[in-house]
């Protein structure tokens, strides 16, 4: 209900303004700081200057391009594998009744509640035994524990709601279950897959604990680890301009994606959480 008095309305819009500032200002300030070098950083200012020096130096002083490439490879692989396995599994979980289905769904939901650190030592051992320490495949495998459960869960929720007649007609015409998934369900799953795929992408892109623990060299690090470990000439002198420039570079694509897909994301989040 919009307040009816003038003062009430003014108060309402003031609150909206505070919400906007609260959400946007910290990132704006990071952008402003990313253009500052040297002693400019010692002074608090609010308007950007557009000096690109920091943006050049993070690519020349360290393998930041390589770090971005690593993050892109890991995130895309994680999304592709999660969606493929998720669509197949969600068909079985949503459209076929078999014994133990409820238990299986609860188990999958429980896995998404796992503290990441609870698999850390076991995963560390496994990754070393498989020879995947300090490599991207190791990170892709580790990320599955984070993305697969909610992918399966959201896609199952979505698939349960599709009408039963859809597949019955296809089965009468003699289609196999795999054909039904590919020809009947896949075309309808577009929105749900876009939402879960994007959420999985964000999770894999932002993942920090595994990437920090299972990589060793600068060249194998993903972006969050690279940013967390940027150091300056001395321990007490962090190059804040570089850190802010790196932060802006990895965040802008995410913000653009989120703004484009905001409705889908909210739908995916609520399907995953409210129905959980």
């Amino acid at each position: 209900m919009m307040p009816r008095t003038l003062a009430g309305r003014a108060g309402f819009y003031a609150f909206i303004l505070v919400i906007m500032l609260f959400s946007v200002f910290p990132f704006y300030y990071a952008v402003v700081s990313s253009f500052k070098t040297g002693s400019e950083l010692f002074e608090v200012t609010y308007w950007p200057t557009f000096n690109m020096e920091n943006y050049v130096s993070i690519f020349t002083e360290q393998p930041f391009g390589r770090n971005i490439l690593n993050s892109v490879i890991v995130a895309f692989a994680v999304v592709a594998i999660s969606l493929t396995l998720g669509v197949l599994a969600s068909y079985a979980l949503a459209r076929v009744s078999f014994r133990g289905r409820g238990l299986l769904l609860v188990t999958i939901l429980a896995v998404s509640m796992f503290p990441q650190v609870a698999v850390l030592s076991g995963m560390f051992e496994m990754i070393r035994v498989l020879g995947m320490f300090n490599s991207l495949p190791g990170l892709i495998l580790a990320n599955m524990v984070l993305t697969l459960p909610f992918t399966v869960w959201v896609l199952t929720t979505f698939m349960t709601e599709l009408p039963k007649e859809l597949e019955e007609a296809a089965f009468v015409d003699g289609a196999t279950p795999l054909q039904v998934v590919r020809r009947v369900f896949l075309p309808l799953m577009g929105p749900a897959m876009a939402a879960t795929g994007l959420l999985a992408f964000i999770v894999a892109w932002n993942e920090f604990l595994f990437a920090l623990t299972f990589t060793l060299s600068n060249e194998m690090r993903t972006v969050p680890v690279a940013i967390a470990l940027i150091t300056g000439a001395t321990q007490y002198e962090l190059p804040w301009g570089n850190i802010m420039a790196a932060s802006v570079i990895v965040t802008v694509p995410l913000i653009v994606l989120v703004l484009i897909f905001q409705r889908r994301i909210v739908a995916g989040l609520t399907a995953g959480a409210v129905k959980g």
Binding site: M1, Y29, L85, F114, V119, V145, L148, V258
Partner: protein, 302 residues
């Protein structure tokens, strides 16, 4: 007859479809978890390959005490619980407030709703660095603003002081996660029937009363789910603390403690024991929530 044939064929292919996902989960979750729980009862370390079963000694022993007598561990437990309760409580209150405001139709609402998602989209490590810079003791925006507004007499070294460091971490988490909460609550609000509000308005009932008597009870199930998800998420927090204060004891959570033992001190057994305790805590809470949730769903609905 043909129907049951089809059913059996479907069940068979269902199992085939499930297999890759189950294999991936077993490999990425089941096996590593099992190994971690096993390591918790051993003296394994990264420095030598042999290890042996030592029972509950990592948890408690008469020689050096074990986890249950480790002051740092209890500090980590305390930090985690404090972080979880304070940040989730603040996020819930602020999230409901923002959701109520965004539920009102006004011009530019779509833009505000999109803007609110920005903190959520920013990687945790990046948020940590952004706020670390704003909270910088010499050149930070917060000190500058606080002093020019007369709120601070002198610059505060936010991250160096153990009391303010944890508060700062809570603040960053609130900033980052409130949007998520607000959008979940907003989704619940938009599913409420509008005619109740119309009736309440005609009867002249004060909006605050309407909120506590009508809105809150109606959105409570969705709100509870959001709070529980956030709470379980906060209990395992790692990124924010590590990126802001590394392995500092005064802000260390249980996850940071476990990883420090495991990686920095190379003590796989002891680190696994800490991770196992955290896992058991989260598992018990999750099981309780799932059971209570099911009881209410089946009992309440019919």
């Amino acid at each position: 007859m043909q129907g049951s044939e089809l059913t059996r064929a479907k069940v068979r292919s269902a199992l085939v479809f499930l297999a890759p996902m189950l294999l991936a989960l077993a490999l990425a979750a089941g096996w590593p978890l099992g190994r971690t729980l096993w390591f918790a009862f051993t003296d394994a370390s990264l420095t030598d390959n042999g290890y042996s079963f030592i029972g509950f000694e990592n948890f408690w022993n008469s020689e050096w005490g074990g986890l249950l007598e480790d002051g740092n561990w209890w500090q980590a437990v305390g930090n985690t619980l404090y972080f979880t309760f304070v940040s989730v409580a603040l996020e819930t209150v602020l999230g409901v407030g923002i959701a109520l405001a965004l539920d009102v139709p006004f011009r530019g609402r779509a833009i505000v709703r999109a803007a609110v998602l920005i903190p959520w989209a920013i990687p945790t490590v990046v948020s940590a660095k952004m706020w670390g810079w704003m909270l910088h003791d010499q050149f930070g925006l917060i000190n500058d603003l606080g002093m020019s507004l007369g709120l601070l007499d002198q610059p505060v070294a936010w991250m160096a002081n153990s009391a303010t460091a944890l508060t700062a971490i809570v603040a960053v988490d609130v900033w980052k996660t409130t949007p998520f909460m607000a959008l979940l609550v907003l989704a619940a609000l938009q599913m409420l029937p509008r005619d109740i509000y119309e009736a309440a308005r005609i009867d002249g009932i004060h909006p605050v009363r309407v909120f506590f008597r009508v809105t809150l009870p109606l959105i409570r199930p969705a709100l509870m789910v959001a709070v529980i998800f956030r709470g379980l998420d906060a209990l395992r927090a790692f990124d924010l603390m590590y990126a802001m204060t590394a392995n500092n004891e005064s802000t260390m959570t249980m996850s940071v403690f476990a990883r420090q033992q495991l990686v920095d001190f190379q003590d796989v057994g002891y680190g696994s024991a800490a991770a196992a305790l955290l896992f058991v805590m989260v598992a018990v809470l999750t099981a309780a929530v799932l059971t209570l949730g099911r009881v209410r769903l089946t009992g309440g609905a019919r």
